[in-house]
């Protein structure tokens, strides 16, 4: 068990080193001549007005909320699928009921207009 995760841990390590290496090489060879004009925000040639880190549209938030509900519930479905051979038909139907409740949640969000893009 642990054996399998050592590999992933090492992969994470190498995964950091591999993309970081070209960054390091590039840091060694690239020209470094910054000036205020170059480091301006790239938008339209004029100094940006106002802060970028503003409050954003709630629309995105609602999608994120619906997603969280779905994502948490689908995680329950995976163990069910793995143990499928041990289940009797009744248990399968029970999970279909669970999925139906999920679907009811989706229909509720749909009717409430949470899925409309405004």
């Amino acid at each position: 068990m642990l054996q399998e995760y050592i590999f992933i841990g090492l992969f994470l390590l190498i995964g950091v080193i591999f993309p970081a290496a070209p960054l390091l090489v590039s840091w060694l060879v690239r020209p470094k001549k910054p000036n205020p004009l170059k480091s301006e925000t790239y938008e339209c040639g004029i100094e940006t007005v106002g802060d970028t880190w503003v409050q954003f549209k709630a629309q995105y938030y609602i999608f994120a909320l619906v997603f969280v509900i779905f994502d948490v519930e689908t995680v329950f479905l995976f163990p069910w699928a793995v143990a499928f051979d041990q289940l009797r038909l009744f248990m399968v139907l029970e999970m279909v009921l669970f999925i139906a409740i999920l679907a009811a949640g989706l229909i509720y969000a749909w009717r409430k207009g949470a899925l409309e893009w405004m």
């Binding site: 399998e4 995760y5 050592i6 590999f7 992933i8 090492l10 992969f11 994470l12 390590l13 190498i14 995964g15 950091v16 591999f18 993309p19 970081a20 070209p22 960054l23 090489v25 590039s26 840091w27 060879v29 690239r30 470094k32 001549k33 170059k38 480091s39 301006e40 925000t41 790239y42 940006t48 970028t52 954003f56 549209k57 629309q59 995105y60 999608f63 994120a64 619906v66 997603f67 994502d71 689908t74 479905l77 995976f78 699928a81 793995v82 499928f84 051979d85 038909l89 399968v92 139907l93 999970m95 279909v96 999925i99 139906a100 999920l102 989706l106 749909w110 899925l115 409309e116 893009w117």
Partner: protein, 409 residues
């Protein structure tokens, strides 16, 4: 003989024996061997990208009636290497107001998120990084890091275009993750396991035959996860310039591109593994009756490149979708279809008697899928018809309005 049949494992055992005879502790040898495996897989991925970027530019160019890169080397095959050298020597700019840490870590995270998926992809029945028991969930979980890295890039660069792109990403990527997980559930259900290698082993008949609807949903949603052309709203060149990576230059920008191209190939490899039988093919054998394992790597790569060609084809053919259409397509079409699909597949698969055999089961499931597909198409046609009628009624009302005003006067 072993060297010819299975050179990878042969070399692996040779190196292990050498290390052991050098007098290293067994635990140390174990870690060293794992490290070698990691380096091999990671290097393979990065070298692959040098090839696939060239391939993609060439193929898409042909589709658009252009020649594509043809100067550097024969058929322009050295173009990617020339590009890498150029990226390395480019100045790295950082906007004044940027959040330094978030801005710099984001490209690294983008690459790591995609690279880590390769830890569980089986190349052959004995060539796999690690066969963890939560393989499929691992893929989804690691893939979600990509979303985070794009959000970090957009937020960190202190640019409104970038921020807009990042917000779109949050809406798009997390929305499409829901039908994707539900579609991934089907191969897990059919194989009764989340281990990648078990899923390949279970595909005596490829899962694309047993579950074509799930395969299609997985393909569409994973295209959206990559941000490929029909769903490339996150970078939408013509609207928000380049989206989240607008402020990036030089090697950091190249890392984002690398992550995107690698992700595009990764979803092809995942599709090949989960639905096209992965390394399966004549003469490969498996754990119980060893054949020639190296053939498995060949079959796997052929299948992956075929899927990758379809990905490029889609990129060369379809225009970009509007964001409201895209989210409606996900939440109002793909998600309900995926929910119906998993319920029906589960019940039907439970009802199939064990005596049906491999092909009997495949036939019944294929028939179920065809009936389900027809039902879905009819339902969509009915809903669309009603929507059109409603629209026509509204239009007629609007036209009738000035006439009544006219008679009153």
């Amino acid at each position: 003989m072993d060297l010819l049949k299975d050179p990878l494992v042969f070399l692996y055992l040779q190196i292990e024996a050498t290390l052991r005879s050098a007098g290293l502790a067994p635990e140390l040898v174990n870690v060293a061997m794992q490290l070698i495996g990691v380096v091999v897989v990671a290097t393979f991925c990065l070298l692959l990208i040098i090839f696939t970027t060239w391939l993609e530019r060439k193929v898409v160019a042909r589709m658009q009636d252009r020649l594509g890169p043809n100067r550097a080397g024969p058929f322009g095959i050295l173009q990617s290497i020339a590009d890498v050298i150029k990226f390395l020597t480019k100045e790295d700019l950082m906007p004044t107001g940027a959040d330094r840490w978030v801005f710099n870590i984001a490209p690294l995270m983008a690459v790591i998120a995609v690279l880590l998926i390769w830890a569980v992809i089986p190349f052959s029945w004995n060539v796999i990084g690690t066969n963890v028991n939560i393989g499929v969930i691992y893929v989804v979980a690691v893939g979600a890091f990509g979303t985070l890295s794009i959000l970090m890039a957009g937020w960190g660069s202190n640019n409104k275009y970038a921020l807009l792109g990042a917000f779109r990403v949050v809406a798009q990527l997390i929305s499409y993750e829901v039908p994707m997980i539900l579609a991934l559930l089907v191969p897990v259900l059919l194989a009764r396991s989340m281990r990648m290698n078990d899923i390949v082993m279970a595909q005596g008949v490829w899962f694309i035959v047993l579950a074509p609807i799930a395969a299609l949903i997985f393909f569409i949603t994973s295209l959206a996860e990559v941000g490929r052309t029909p769903f490339d709203l996150l970078e939408a060149e013509s609207e928000i310039v380049a989206g989240y990576h607008i402020e990036y230059s030089g090697m950091k920008w190249a890392l984002f591109m690398l992550a995107e191209f690698l992700h595009a190939f990764t979803i092809s490899a995942l599709f090949a593994t989960l639905f096209l039988g992965g390394w399966r093919g004549p003469g490969v054998g498996d754990l119980n009756r060893p054949g020639i394992p190296i053939l498995g790597v060949v079959y796997f790569l052929i299948k992956s490149f075929l899927v990758y060609f379809v990905v490029m084809w889609v990129r060369g053919t379809l225009p970009r979708i509007r964001i409201d259409h895209m989210l409606a397509f996900c939440w109002k079409f793909l998600t309900p279809v995926a929910l119906v699909n998993i319920s029906v597949m589960a019940v039907v698969d439970k009802l199939i008697p064990a005596t049906a055999g491999l092909w009997g089961r495949a036939g019944i499931l294929l028939l179920t899928n065809l009936v389900m597909g027809a039902g879905i198409l009819i339902a969509v046609a009915m809903v669309a018809h009603r929507a059109r009628q409603r629209e026509a009624a509204l239009l007629a009302q609007a036209e009738a309005l000035p006439a009544t005003v006219g008679t009153a006067r």
